[in-house]
Symmetry: C2
């Protein structure tokens, strides 16, 4: 938490150049109110591979992801892993918790976060009533995404799952909010997560993920640059496949 004197500087440094400013919950706070936000939070940087939220640990803080990507996952006693999601710029982390966190969050590359203790969020909501609606919205959209994931894990084929994943990776910040339609030209995406992460996200094995990538490549739906970058050559086709409208 920053102290009074340098607050204005801190705001300029933190929020002024924060690329998450316009997509995170912070977008309901006016520029002139940013000092309150900065005063209630602290900036955290996490190196690649480090966990910054641990499943089962007491949940004291929320986080806004301000740079990099993270994977959120949960483990069974025997080591089976389910990746719950990949967090990206602006994502609000920590809603899925009661007294303790329901998932572990691990930085995929280097990650920048703003940490908000629960009590700070309470005070901020008190002071900025619009924040309340924004948080509800965040929870709602998270729940809607979760429902889509239940459909994916419960009812989709391996091809549909991978297509869904690729389309989802293409969506959010990268497309600036516009929908993915047939007209779209090639779209190149970074894949900062490993094949194992993708498999654990899609409820598949790494081999099935790799094979399905191979099929998509043969079918001219994608090209791959190394393991951590794909180009979607036919985003519309992939989108239809993801939704079970088209089989090939």
């Amino acid at each position: 938490m920053e102290t009074g004197r340098s607050l204005v500087d801190a705001v300029r440094e933190r929020c002024g150049r924060c690329s998450g400013r316009s997509v995170s919950i912070c977008n309901v706070i006016d520029d002139e109110d940013l000092p309150a936000l900065v005063a209630e939070s602290s900036r955290v940087t996490v190196p690649a591979g480090r966990c910054f939220i641990r499943e089962g640990a007491p949940a004291h803080d929320f986080y806004v992801l301000a740079g990099g990507r993270a994977k959120l996952f949960s483990l069974m006693p025997d080591g089976r892993r389910q990746v719950m999601g990949f967090a990206e710029l602006g994502d609000f982390l920590g809603l899925a918790s009661s007294d303790t966190y329901a998932f572990t969050a691990e930085a995929l590359g280097d990650v920048t976060l703003c940490r908000f203790p629960h009590s700070s969020i309470d005070r901020l909501v008190e002071r900025f009533p619009r924040l309340r609606g924004r948080l509800q919205q965040e929870a709602s959209s998270e729940l809607v995404k979760m429902q889509a994931r239940l459909m994916l894990l419960g009812r989709k084929t391996a091809r549909e799952r991978l297509a869904s994943f690729l389309v989802e990776q293409a969506s959010p910040c990268r497309l600036h909010g516009q929908e993915l339609r047939d007209g779209h030209g090639p779209l190149t995406l970074p894949l900062p997560m490993s094949r194992t992460d993708i498999a654990d996200y899609l409820g598949l094995t790494i081999e099935t993920v790799s094979r399905t990538f191979g099929l998509f490549r043969k079918e001219g739906l994608i090209t791959v640059q190394g393991a951590s970058s794909v180009t979607l050559l036919a985003p519309g086709t992939l989108s239809d496949m993801a939704n079970g409208i088209r089989k090939d």
Copy 2:
């Protein structure tokens, strides 16, 4: 929405004998404030089999389930179904929606609901600040449940899924909040949903569900009274199986 004159009577009729009073979001409203709640909501009864929320329809209302059970599901264009959950006494429905509902809700038996237009909830939160936290809590616990369901659908075996389902059915109101432990004696549960509903909930086929019920029966873990009532003979064993601690 009730009009002034008979409000006190309406409160006595609606909330006075409502079994959801103590478990739903209403439990943060004091008795003397109930008239405001009643004034902002309307009581709805839905016959068995009727849908009262439709996937894709504009989301105007929240619902509190005040009696009966409902299934919440979503469909793919080709008819594949995923049951997102079974709602029961006190559940708050409609959080998983943006502009439109993300799921369809269908009454399993006859269902009683209190309908709260979004605008009413806004007014109530304004007037009863404690309600805000209660709603956040509702969203959080829903998200935690969802994560458990992702693990189930992504990583659990058919046996583990059915065990999870049975344990979950045993948990909430029926156990009055206490955890399921090895010491527990037999526990008889109603199963108001069909085998197809269970299958669509667990990401399995009806045949696999039926066969797995058969196995559990042979293994002395459960007995079945007709298709719509089970007795858990070994709740602790089932709980361990659900969590992947025990295979048989």
